[in-house]
Structures are given as C-alpha cells and as structure tokens.
C-alpha cells in the first residue's frame, strides 16, 4: 500500500562494487539505497517498500542466502537478485529454489543488471497489485453477514438453491434472496466471476451434503 517510487537496495560488503552499482542504478533513473552488510539492511529497510534487492552472495558473517531466508520468514515481497564473485552451482540452485529472481555473476554487464532490476521491480509491482486486489476482495467478503457467507460457501461447492435450502433448513426463496445479496456485495455479475473472486480470497467451498 505504498505509492512511492520503487527503490533498489544494494547489499554488498565491497564498497567499490556498492558505489558502482548504486551509480549505475541512478544513471538509469532508479532510486538506490546501499548497505554494507546484510544485518545493516535487515535493521533498516522499509518492509513496505516497492523495488528489489541486489544481494551479494558471499559476505563475511551473514551471507546472502541467510539474508534471503530471513526476508522470506518475514514475508517480504521484495524480489532478490543475487550477485556473486564466482558462481557455484549448489548455491545458485538453492537461491533460485527459494525464489530469487536472478542469479548474476560478477562482473555483470550494466544493461543486463538493469534489465534484471526492471524485471524484478515489475514483479514486485505486480505482486503488490495482486495483494491490493485480494485485499479489496477480502474487504467485500467482510461486508457479508454470517448467513450470507454460509450461502456463499454452499454456492461455491456447486449446489442448487433447493439443496442449499435443505442443508440450511430453510426455504428456497430465502436462499435466492441471500444469493442475490452476495452477488451484489461481491460485485460479481456472473457465478463464474463470483467463484474466481472467492478463490482469490481463499474462501473454501462447503463440504458436500451426506446422503
């Protein structure tokens, strides 16, 4: 939920690499912020920031892979681009498995690095957009009454109004009214749209009726 411009965080223990990468990013019109160690970054970064991290793999004390783990544990959405002095396959595989967007070997061509950064920022923005959307859906779900949520769950499991009425111990008409209210509150014009919205919000369909 931030509207500020995307920021690229550079984490590298080598000051000259740090400065060079920062300048390269600024020359491409990107906002950059540099940190000399993973700890530094973890203490100071803005967890809602949009952008990405350019992370040195090998750093004394607290290395890139460990930092990636901490960010994942904190549920950060910041995509990570790894930079390494010499690429060894096991660490690159580990990094990619944990969701790194790129794994680049030093010295990396500026255009390649910038392309990777833009791609990562794009991802980050897309991720934020999606989060925004889901949050919107969840807000709509929150407006439903408990009875309406029950009806929604049953609708999602593909039951007819008559079956729902039987399950909930009421008459078909009442269900029809509830269902219309749900469609209206969820701003879904078709049943298909309602199902998609519910899925994205993570609402589970009701279990099938026994007998």
């Amino acid at each position: 939920m931030t509207s500020s411009a995307p920021t690229v965080f550079v984490v590298d223990d080598d000051p000259s690499v740090r400065r060079g990468v920062e300048r390269l990013l600024r020359s491409a019109g990107l906002a950059a912020e540099a940190f000399a160690s993973a700890r530094d970054f973890l203490e100071r970064y803005d967890c809602d920031a949009v952008g990405c991290v350019i992370l040195d793999l090998a750093m004394p004390g607290f290395d890139g892979l460990q930092m990636q783990q901490v960010l994942a544990d904190r549920g950060s959405a910041l995509p990570i681009i790894f930079l390494t002095g010499h690429g060894d396959i096991p660490s690159s595989v580990r990094a990619m498995k944990r969701g790194a967007v790129d794994f680049l070997t030093k010295p990396v061509n500026g255009d390649d690095l910038l392309a990777a950064v833009r791609n990562a920022i794009g991802r980050c923005e897309a991720l934020y957009r999606e989060r925004e959307e889901i949050a919107g859906i969840r807000r709509r779900v929150a407006t439903l009454t408990p009875r309406e949520r029950e009806v929604l769950a049953h609708v999602l499991s593909g039951k007819l109004n008559k079956q729902i009425a039987a399950d909930l111990g009421t008459i078909e008409h009442t269900i029809k009214v509830h269902r219309a209210r749900v469609m209206q509150k969820m701003q879904a014009r078709t049943l298909a749209a309602l199902v998609r919205l519910a899925q994205r919000a993570g609402i589970e369909p009701a279990p099938p009726t026994e007998g």
Binding site: D14, R19, G20, L24, R26, S27, P60, L83, K106
Partner: protein
C-alpha cells in the same frame, strides 16, 4: 819417567783434548757458557797436572813450595770454573754462595802469595821421599802449616755446600736427565772435593807424610762434567735426527693430504706448497714459494686480506676462514673458484707460520645448487596445485574490482549521455575505476608471483607483509568456509632474510590445512596467526586452529612425504613446507594445544654483516 808421570801426563792430555772439543762447541753456540767454563776447567786441570808432576819430583823444599804456590793459581781457576759451570749448567745454586766461594778462593790465592811459602805451608822444611809401587819415588812435603790455610778450607766447605745445594735443587726439578746430572756431576764433585781437600789438609797438618795427590780428583771431575756435556751433544744430535725425520714426515703428510696445503710465514709469504696446491691454483711450486699469499686471492679482496691476516696473527687459533662467508680463490688463469679454507697457527722461533688448507668446493656447490633447484621446482609445483584449490576464491578477488570498474564505467556512459552532466560525479567515478584497476592489478601481481617459477631470492623482508598477503589471498576462501581469521603481529618484529613467495607458500599451506582441519568439527572455526620474536633470534610464526588437534603419534609423521590425513591430499604440502623452512635456516614443527593444532616455524634474522 815412572808410571805416575805417564799417568799424570795422560790425564792432562785427556783434559786438554776434552777442553778443546768443548771450546769448539762453544764457538758454535756462544750462548752455552757451560762449554766455555768446561774448557777453562779442563785447561786449568791439564796445567795443574803438569805442576803436580813438578811438585812430586821436586828436589828441594824451596822448589816444592814455589811449585805449590803457582799451582794454586790453577787450582783457583779450577774452583771458579766449577762454581760457574754448576751455576750455568744446572741453572741452580744460590748466587750469593757462588760469589762467596769465588771471593774466598781469590782471597786464598792472594794470601797464597803474601803469607808463608804458600797458603798451605808457613815453611817447607824438608821433603819426604816416598816409594810407591812400581819403583816410583815421589816427594812429600814436611813443614809448618800456614795458619791462613783455614781460608781455602772454608772455601772448600762453601764449595761443597754450593754444589750440594745446586744438586738438590736440580734433583727436585725431577726427570731422568736432571737426576742423572745431579748424581753424576754433583756426586763426583762432592766426593772428589771432599777427598782432595781432606787429603791435602791431612798432609799440611803433618799427620800424613805423603805427596799431595790432587790431579786424579780433578780429572774425575773433568771426566764427569765432560760425560754430561757429551750426553747433551749426543741428545742434540739425536734431536736433530728426530727433527729431520719429523720434518720429512710433515712434508709427506702435507703431500698426501687431498686438499691444497700452503705454509705461510708472518710476512704472508708462501714457504711451502703441496702438489694439490699446484693443481688447484694452476701454478708450479717454484712460482708459489716466497710469493705473497695474496696472489691466490681475487684482486678486489687483496688489500682487505692483508688487514685480516694481521688480525689473525693477533689471535691465532685453528679455525675456518671467512666466518661462514663464501670464499673465492684466484687461479693462475684468472678463473675464480669457490673454496673452503682452514687455518692452523704454527708458532716458530722465526715468527708465526700459518698452515692453510684449501678445499675446492666447486663440485659441492654445483650439487648444492642442483638440489636447491630441484627443491624450488617441487615447491613451485606444489604452489601451483595449491592455487588451483584456491582458484574460485581468487576469481572472486579479481571479479570484485572488475565488477566495480564495469558498473562505474557504464554508469558514467549513461551520465554522459544525459543532457545535464554532473562532472563531479564523473570525476569520482573515474577515481573509483582507477582504484579498482589498481586493485585488480595487485591481485594479478600476487598471483603471478606465486605462479612464477623464478629464481628464489633471499632478501630482507617484513614477515607482517607475508601474513597480510596470505590473509588477502585466502579472504574469500575463509569466508566460504565460514572460518574467521585473526592475526597478531608483535610490534618489534625484526627484519628476516627470506624468499617472500616461498614463505607465503608455507603460510598459505598452513592456513588452508587449518581450515580443512576444522571442517565438520563443532564449534566456531577460527584460524589464528601470530608472529613474534623467536627465542633465539629472528621471527616465529604460528598458525593455530580449533580442529581438535593431531594424534600425538602423528605430530612428526605428518611432515614425511606422502603422509596425509586428508581424503584428497597428496601428502606433499607439509614436507615441502619443511624443506622450504629448512632452506631458510629455520624450523617447522607441530604441537597440540587445548582446542586444536598449532604449527610453528622460525625464520632467522637478517645478518647485520650483509
């Protein structure tokens, strides 16, 4: 002529002959006063013999008294000769006693002429004719004793005392020669003087009527002394023979020794050279003898050598020349050869001679050089292999600055493409690029130095720089292994003499070993490098790990070639390290401390003379 005359004449002649022989001996050795004094004694004795014949055949008491008076002159000479002979020959006897004996005898001689008819008799009233065996008739004096006769008798007692004292002193010095000399000369003197003087006193006092018989006693003394002096001459002759034999042996040894031998006198002249010296230096013997020894030294060292030679003469001891420096000798053809030189002083009367033994070590130097070359080659190969292991880490060291350069340069391109150029920013970028370029160059320089198969050069170096280099080279490797490294350098480390690359190799090897020892061992991995002043001199460097240590039985074995505790080790690293350190004159060993192993090596200090 009766037999007494014949015997007396023979004794005189024999004395004279012996005396003359020793006169010649004295001419040859003027410092030997014993020969001269013996001559005086023998001649006096010979003359006395003649006078005694005269006395024994005197026909009147007046003639007898006169002959005895003059015989006392010779007797005085005999006594004086005996006193001073004993003094010089024994090198003993109290000097004051010798002067006293001489003085009393001269006083007696004076009294001999001024009192009575001689010192023995106040007057000789008659002559007794004594018939001896074989029909010889001799005259014996009858008369009144001279009261002054006590003076020569006191003199005789003093003489006996002097001789006894001198003989005892000589005897106490010990040794067969001293004992014999004291017994033969001292004994015969004491016996003869006592007998002769006693007999004379008996005749003078009138208790015995007999002719005075002194000559046999004197002759025995002459014989005893002559015998001793003769012994000396024989011993000297034997000594000369022995000397000649020993000199011949010395020359034979000098010839037989496999090294070149020169004998140099105190002026630096060569007095002897063996065949090996001729071969080694290319000169013939005649060209060496009586020439200054400096001719065998390269020209640039000749002047200092003269000073060194006189310094050696001040404190001459058998020792090697040059105090560990490499010595060069100069051949006749101008070629220089490495040599080892041993000096032994041979003091002689003419001055200090020095026996110089020279060994040509060209061959040995060649072998040593070949061995060193092989060792350095193996060290180089092992270094290359070790760098192979570090290659990833080294690539990182190189890629860091390259990354800096590339990103800075491309940033600059982009800034310059924009309309509004911030020149300050571009300047900073260029500064960073230059710094990074230097850094990359430095990495490459270090690598090249380690990879190069160059001549090993022992130069003065700061061990702290070696430690820094190694920490830089392994920085990334240590990081990848999660090993922390610390270094502790004592502030007062002396400069050492060594090959920087080879010492780096040793330290690099020890650091990598330490890391590998800690792989999979619980606890925080830490490598601690420490450099401090060694107990003797120079520097001791230690590398400690926390890898749990080495089994005590393996502490020495790990330095043997092909012994390894690692899965993929060649077992050569530590054995090469040890040869490198040994070639530096230091020591490399391992020990265990609480947490792990510590490897220590020493490097001797740079010598001040260099």
């Amino acid at each position: 002529m009766n037999w007494v005359q014949i015997a007396w004449i023979m004794m005189s002649a024999a004395s004279l002959t012996l005396g003359v022989i020793h006169l010649f001996a004295w001419f040859k050795q003027r410092s030997q006063y014993a020969h001269l004094l013996f001559f005086a004694l023998a001649v006096s004795a010979a003359a006395f013999g003649v006078f005694e014949i005269e006395m024994m055949h005197a026909q009147s008491s007046v003639g007898y008294a006169a002959a005895l008076r003059w015989a006392h002159v010779l007797l005085a000479m005999v006594v004086l000769s005996i006193v001073w002979f004993v003094h010089f020959y024994f090198d003993a006897g109290r000097l004051w006693l010798a002067y006293m004996v001489s003085g009393v005898r001269l006083l007696a001689l004076g009294l001999n002429f001024v009192t009575g008819v001689n010192i023995n008799f106040h007057e000789v009233s008659a002559l007794d004719q004594v018939l001896l065996w074989g029909g010889a008739v001799l005259s014996g004096p009858v008369g009144v004793a001279n009261p002054w006769a006590i003076v020569p008798q006191i003199g005789n007692v003093l003489l006996v005392a002097f001789v006894v004292d001198a003989s005892v002193t000589l005897w106490q010095r010990g040794g067969p020669v001293a004992h014999r000399r004291a017994a033969v000369v001292g004994g015969s003197l004491v016996v003869c003087i006592t007998a002769v003087a006693g007999f004379a006193a008996l005749i003078t006092s009138g208790l015995v009527h007999a002719p005075t018989i002194v000559m046999p006693g004197v002759f025995i003394v002459v014989l005893a002394m002559g015998y001793e002096l003769g012994w000396d001459m024989i011993a000297a002759a034997q000594l000369a023979v022995q000397l000649r034999t020993s000199e011949q042996r010395f020359r034979a040894v000098v010839q037989a020794v496999p090294s070149a031998i020169l004998l140099v006198d105190d002026r630096g002249m060569i007095t002897l050279a063996n065949a090996q010296a001729e071969t080694a230096f290319g000169y013939r013997r005649e060209e060496l003898i009586a020439k200054p020894v400096e001719m065998l030294i390269p020209e640039r060292f000749r002047v200092p050598h003269v000073g060194l030679r006189s310094a050696y003469a001040e404190d001459a001891q058998a020792r090697a020349m040059g105090a560990g420096r490499e010595l060069l000798a100069c051949r006749k053809d101008g070629g220089e050869i490495p040599v080892e030189v041993a000096l032994s002083p041979m003091p002689a009367e003419e001055g200090l001679f020095v026996l110089v033994s020279v060994v040509d070590v060209t061959e040995r130097r060649n072998v040593e050089r070949a061995t060193a070359r092989q060792r350095d080659e193996v060290a180089h190969l092992s270094r290359v292999a070790m760098l192979g292991e570090l290659s990833g880490s080294l690539a990182h060291e190189l890629n860091q600055p390259l990354m800096g350069i590339l990103s800075n340069a491309q940033a600059a391109q982009r800034f310059l493409a924009a309309d509004d150029v911030n020149l300050d920013e571009v300047r900073e970028i260029l500064d960073d690029i230059v710094a990074d370029d230097r850094r990359a160059g430095e990495v490459i320089r270090r690598l090249r130095a380690l990879l190069k198969r160059g001549e090993v050069q022992h130069a003065p170096l700061d061990i702290g720089n070696v430690v820094d280099d190694v920490l830089r080279l392994t920085r990334n490797d240590l990081m990848n292994r999660d090993v922390a490294a610390s270094a502790e350098l004592a502030p007062d480390l002396p400069t050492v003499l060594g090959d920087r690359i080879q010492l780096q190799q040793v330290l690099l090897n020890l650091v990598i070993n330490a890391c590998e020892a800690m792989a999979g061992v619980p606890g925080t991995p830490l490598v601690h490098i420490r450099a401090r002043c060694a107990d003797g001199a120079g520097v001791e460097v230690s590398v400690s790990d926390r890898g749990g240590g080495i089994p005590p039985g393996d502490l020495e074995r790990i330095f043997e070639p092909f012994v390894t505790t690692k899965e993929h080790g060649t077992g050569l690293g530590l054995s090469i390290c040890r040869t490198i350190i040994a070639a530096h004159g230091g020591r490399l060993w391992a020990e265990n401390d609480g947490a792990g192993a510590t490897f220590r090596f020493t490097v001797p200090p740079r010598l001040h003379a260099e």
